[in-house]
Amino acid sequence: MSQVMKKVDVVIVGFGWAGAIMAKELTEAGLQVLALERGPARDTYPDGVYPQTMDELTYNSRKKLFMDISRETVTLRHSVNDVAVPYRQFGAFLPGTGTGGAGLHWSGVHFRVDPVELRLRSHYEERYGKRFIPEGMTIQDFGVSYEELEPYFDFAEKVFGTSGTAWSIKGQVVGRDKGGNPFAADRSSDFPLAAQKNTVSAQLFEKAAREVGYHPYNLPSANTSGPYTNPYGAQMGPCNFCGYCSGYACYMYSKASPNVNILPALRQVPNFELRNNAHVLRVNLTADKRLATGVTYVDSQGREVEQPADLVILGAFQYNNVRLMLLSGIGKPYDPVSNEGVVGRNFAYQNISTVTAFFDRDSHHTNPFIGAGGNGVAVDDFNADNFDHGPHGFVGGSPFWVNQAGAKPISGTKVPPGTPKWGSGWKAAVADSYRHMLSMDAHGAHQSYRDNYLDLDPVYKDAYGLPLLRMTFDWKDNDVKMNRFMVERMGKIAEAMGPKAISAGKKAFGQHFDASTYQTTHLNGGAIMGTDPKTSALNRYLQCWDVHNVFVPGASAFPQGLGYNPTGLVAALTYWSARAIRERYLKNPGPLVQA
């Protein structure tokens, strides 16, 4: 028998970026908001305190701040005909947990979106014809435009304290030859902070990219280039390039996080509560499954607790949102055979490759321990649809960049091809290379396909006896074609730097998705937004088509993976959704879009 708590207006599952933004917006609307976070309480102190946090083994190798996969993980298989096995050790992706979620220990690359990617299917059909999109590729439009989202991108940057260089503001070009991105969409105002300094690696990339005819620009970074106070009164100190960003809480209060940029304001209001160590098992629904009545969670002592609420926000990590919907019976589960159902469809990732250039020890000192997670120089010449895809026969684009985030020696020492695996030869190569190399990434959009999807695993369970989520996922020929094209184009930048050696990762046709090595944590889809309830779980306001008082912000709403990093779009969509709740839903609770 569950303990039943006093009803609240809003219960939010997960306190990362999406949960924190929703909490701020809905408390401003006067609602009583409760955020349930399954992980522990975390903050700059004690989780990012100097010097204890400068510990690569604890935070990077042993992943102290990440999700506890001994209790709950996912299972993986490459096709519907395979048997899935658990993701037993961290590899390809690293979900967070605890206050701030992965927002506490992300890097801080803070993009908007290329407008084309919000209407990807329509755009490709218009420019290249319907037959250009391969059979089985299920890309869709988001159902919302860049123009509609622009005010929310703008506000999110001000909340995050984002450093960058604008190209155009209200149609006026301001960033030519100053580090602006000529391919960037127009903005209503400038970045709140000027771009950060550029590392030696970023400077080398900028010069080489220009030499080969590309258009380098400053990466938009949610690491501060100077002191900053955001619209909520939260204060940030200037980033000092300590290099401990991704996987770490920022000791300098320089990297935007829910903990630094939003929670201090929420702590001031009486109508907000954050309850840690509260692991939500399911959303409770009425018998007809048309309305949510609240959630049931397990508290720190293992007791089941029922929390009634009028409005439920699922703000957990991408795949945890999808799993909660499946465990709760919200929306029809997706079936790849019949191609029917919506929850679990369009699961997509990021199509990333890295090229490393090694210099003679007397030619360049890249000092890769110097870094900031969001900082760097990029080119968009091959991102989105900024070039003619017609002759190349694939869908998708990729920004390229040097994003020197601070390479530490356990994970960040690389050696040129041909180096012995260990022994004195390896030792000499590591000593020679570490301070004289740079890495660049083709970050790469990833498309959705009929048979890449999420459902519940029939065998494996979590610590509470509930089914794990199962990922059925593999690379397709379109992904490999794009990846090889991008690595070749980015390789020209590396060659123009005149290094002594280059190593490049390039996908091969037929190569399987490898879960054992880190790629990115940018997982998308599974509970996607759209305009048709037959092909999307959520409407354009992130509201469930089937249960109107459940909203699901997060990258789970993306119908496919972007070329850029997802956090900026997650934040903007969450503000967009919150605005619809405040201005329309609260006055007249019901579907905001008629199916």
Partner: protein
Amino acid sequence: MSKDQPASVQPARRAFLRQSLTLIPVATLASTGLGGAVLADSTTPAPAEPARAAPARAYQPSFFTQEEWAFVSAAVAVLIPTDALGPGAADAGVPEFIDRQLNTRYGSGGLWYMQGPFRPDAPSELGYQLKLSPQEIYRLGIAETDAWCQAQFGKAFAQLGLEQQQQVLEALDGGKPAFASVPAATFLGMLWLNTREGFFSDPLHGGNQGLAGWKLVGFPGARADFMDWVERDERYPFPPVSISGERG
């Protein structure tokens, strides 16, 4: 950079500094503002001191038996040898690091999802699928390797000459000996990963003694403030410092 800030931000910034200055330990001051500027005037940075060439401090293993300890001490010395570039893994205390790690939650497999059923024959791209914890991988892997060395050479691994030891580790890496209890390449892979971890992690974990690993590659450790060095294509001249304040 801060000149673009509206004036109203400045009092808040000062308040921030007042609050945070007390949190910055002495170890960082040498690399910030004043200290950095003075030292940066020097056109010829001090040459790197040769790394300390002394054996690791005494340590009594609590996970490994004496035989296992002898194996690990010998094996890590092959993987990262002491040579003209400075101390190797054994002299830097990597065996102590591994012994201590095996007594943590990591060592007992507590950081991994370890519920069955286990399918060790699943494609390698799906990641680790054995039911073995790191403790078990070491225990079984060392026993298998020593037994294999006995059969091949009539001696345990630790008693072999350097060349034979190198051959044995290469054979393990190639998965050549067909061990019944643990795949040879899995054991070697874990040993090599833990060796690098011990050589390059903060000395608070037991390895990287004398900051040998950091001095080898030029990693400054916990300095964690490079504001004055971001844009400079030149050698970073300051020696490493550990979390406890030890300097290399």
